[in-house]
Amino acid sequence: MVGTATFVGAALGLSIQFFSNGVRKLPLMRHPWEHVLAMGLGAAFGNAMAKWEVHLQDELDKRLQEVQSANKKRFIGTMRAVED
């Protein structure tokens, strides 16, 4: 999971740097240190996104649980509460 996020993020960062050089009509490998920087930033971004997704899923599950229990309290005595 971490490996995939790092690899994809680095590839994205490198692609962005290639695109930036290409659209400005510069040699694609001009200033190679910028490519390394972009790969590093991309890898960091990819990992951050992966962590954020896990965090968001947990928060959403908690939120939906809260909403469901609030609805159950409101509908006490109805068919819906009995079924659940």
Binding site: V23, E53, L60, V67
Partner: protein, 306 residues
Amino acid sequence: MIYGFTGVTNFEELAKIFTGYKITLFGAQSSGIFMGILFIAVGFLFKITAVPFHMWAPDVYEGSPTLVTAFFSIAPKISILANMVRVFIYSFYDPTWQQLFFFCSIASMILGALAAMAQNKVKRLLAYSSIGHVGYLFIGFSCGTIEGIQSLLIGVFIYVLMTINVFAIVLALRQNRFKYIADLGALAKTNPILAITLSITMFSYAGIPPLAGFCSKFYLFFAALGCGAYLLALIGVVTSVISCFYYIRFVKIMYFDTPKTWILYKPMDREKSLLLAITLFFITFFFLYPSPFFLVTHQMALSLCL
């Protein structure tokens, strides 16, 4: 007027007052409240350039400096839509406003699709395109469901990124007398990467899969189907097909037309190139990894509506 007739301005207090309260004109317990809400709605619709309050947009978009045009084709959409969700979904939730926003949505989609076909200037075309997109966004808003609000949030975010991309291109080309669509002739020969970028963005605007624009329209139309607004979804699909004409016209001019006078484009600066790259990669690869975005918009919709 709302404060005068209710005595409160707090959204929660207003929501409590209007729970089960008839706001229709002929059954209203207070026509003053109805008029107040109508004025608020009209003000928001003017600002967001929704039909029939869109008249100012093409002329202002064309006449303003491009940076200013870019700003107010992006920023007001976000702020006004967020504001409208708070006001009309949270406080004044009523089927009366749904009919008004259905009408505005249909009219905006139709006008945006048809009027843009006759445009030759880039900024005017983008103005009508934004009017059409407001129509699509109103599909999600007027559903009034959590899925509708989520699709609205998805649509707004994708629209913002597509618009940033297209205005970055317009700004990059602006230094070379770029005013008419025909000035794009042979861009594919002078700057092929920029031509591909603009092509992909136009395809995304047109809603061609698997780009981000298609995903946003997909969710908006499905939200409409989920709440029973079949006509809205049908008109949305038909106007999307019609709008393909003027979006793909860009591609045709760039790749198959030769301009009357050849324009040598100056190279763009690094910041614009990075902005273009980030937005282009988002538009192109959104369909591969949309889940964080869906999760955050789902949470936002739950927070706004519940």
